[in-house]
Symmetry: C2
Subunit: 350 residues, 2 copies
């Protein structure tokens, strides 16, 4: 399976299914692991890094789940390929740099992926549609257990799993939820949400994770620290707080529907109309408008289009996806034109 085969696939996490898909786009669980007896990535030589990657790859290949998986040497990727993988939420920004010894494994359904030699030897990720942190955790836990039968993980009785950066030490767990909060943004409630969240041991990030901006009312919320709590405590805390945010977004939507239905509809349908009509559109404007359209679908204003289709357009209209789809590098203007074409086609415009 080549990287091009990934391009036209529809990722499982974009399906718009699962619990509370009206507010939660996706849930993610990530485990950081290192191999006992091997130097941490940042201390190791390229040769040692290569060795680690080979060891891990071989172990992964022994697992039934990865029999049809896609193994990628990051060295073989172009700039556009890496951007594409980031847009697809399969790699981190970190994993785009110094690709010499880095690797990536993606399972058949794009549910499980492993970054090899990111900051740690292994970054195992499970990404699911909707509010499904626990399901994601179960799967990640099972794979982690299986892997541990083939790989000796760096583990200390005192600290737990050892990691390159101390914020991951302990459980090595980061769980996150991608929330769609258009009503709270309209009601200017996000600023105070930021503050409240950080006091509860959580952190709020942008659309592509650490170090990225919030785009189109999408916010990623995750646990801040992996040490000092059990996995279940971390997940429970995240679930509990996210449930409150979901309830808050839902009640704000209801309030708007009662008091300002026309303004709400106006925003939704103008956004939809513009997306179905524009001939040139930037990525930033597209995300903003698609966010409003997603809201329109969730509220039942817009019929005949599913959340999954909006999610898909959201990802496929990103710059690298556009370039992979058209099989060539494109300048900014060409991308803006191609993006408008793709969006019009997908949303049934003229």
């Amino acid at each position: 399976m080549s990287i091009d085969a990934l391009v036209s696939k529809k990722s499982e996490w974009l399906k718009g299914e699962g619990s509370k898909a009206n507010v939660v786009m996706s849930s993610r669980v990530r485990l950081a692991r290192n191999i006992e007896g091997q130097l941490f990535y940042d201390r190791a030589s390229d040769e040692q890094r290569d060795g680690t990657r080979r060891t891990v790859s071989l172990a992964v290949k022994r697992l039934e789940r990865f029999s049809n998986a896609f193994f990628l040497d990051m060295r073989d990727t172009s700039d556009v390929d890496r951007k594409f993988l980031l847009e697809r939420h399969l790699i981190s920004k970190e994993h785009m740099q110094d690709v010499q010894t880095k690797g990536l494994v993606v399972d058949e359904n794009e549910v499980v992926s492993l970054m090899l030699n990111e900051e740690d030897h292994i970054r195992l990720q499970v990404l699911r549609s909707g509010f499904s942190v626990m399901e994601a955790w179960s799967l990640a836990d099972a794979i982690d257990t299986e892997l541990s039968h083939h790989l000796p993980f760096d583990y200390s009785r005192k600290f737990g799993y050892l990691t390159s950066c101390p914020t991951n030490t302990g459980t090595g767990l980061r769980a996150s939820v991608m929330l769609h909060l258009p009503a709270m943004v309209m009601a200017s409630q996000v600023e105070s949400l930021y503050e409240a969240i950080s006091k509860l041991g959580l952190t709020m990030r942008g659309f592509y994770g650490e170090g990225t901006e919030a785009l189109g009312d999408f916010f990623q919320i995750s646990n801040q620290v992996a040490l000092g709590s059990s996995e279940m405590d971390i997940l429970d805390n995240l679930e509990r707080i996210v449930q409150k945010i979901i309830a808050s977004e839902e009640s704000t939507r209801e309030e708007f529907l009662k008091k300002k239905k026309e303004e709400f509809e106006d925003r939704v349908f103008r956004s939809f109309g513009t997306l179905k009509s524009a001939r040139i559109i930037t990525s930033g404007e597209a995300i903003k408008l698609l966010s409003a359209v997603r809201l329109g679908v969730e509220l039942g204003f817009i019929k005949g289009i599913s959340t999954a289709e909006v999610n898909e357009v959201l990802i496929f209209s990103q710059s690298a996806h556009l370039q992979k789809l058209s099989g060539q590098e494109l300048g900014r203007y060409e991308r803006d034109v191609k993006r408008a074409d793709l969006i019009r086609k997908k949303l049934g415009g003229e």
Copy 2:
């Protein structure tokens, strides 16, 4: 025929027909006349004004063309009625004030109208679709001649027709053309057009004539002075200069089509999409967007909608038209919602 009967009628000048209708919305000829032996409007008492109006009305009624005409006592009109007549280009802003003794006559097809006791005893107007100044003039001239058989006009061998304001003295003629210049606006050529025009004895005004703003790339160009030239010279001068402006707008459009077709299409289709989608829209935004849609129709980008239909929406979506159509006074917000509804319906939106 009551004022309400006018509401749903489609004025002849909105038909989008006639020469150069791609750039010229309408042509208008207006003649100012006063009755010999009667004091000018601003000098007369209300009683004298009433007398003049009755005299003129009786004379007008004797003309075949006005056998089915609509005679209106401005005293009987509401604020909304007067706003409606202004939007319909049947009266001036001046004619909305001090309505005590003012009158209005509109012929069956809304081609000819007479304001009685505006600034002068008679303001005869012929309004036609497209670039048809000469046709409008012929008709105005014929009616003027007929009227002069029944009414002794104030005329001096030295000055010509005498009028309340010296700028109208002489021919009493004001001819004007409503131009749609979206490409020249996009190319920032309108500022210099303003200057050039004023040096050529012409003046540029807004969408509702004197003292009104330019809206949505629509500009009214008319002769500045009525004295010292014959009617034919005035009309020739206007025609000649307007022809040049039309040519300039056309060549600017062609240039854009060659060099910036996508930007052009983008603007047109975004405007169309927004109009077909919005749930709340102000009059100012609607005119701006309709201007782009009119351009789209003229360039053949938009199919299935005629210039006449765009013109009609342009006029019928104005505030007073909306209120007359819904049979009640509406607040600003209600108008913005009704306007969006009407536009969506007319343009085949959702």
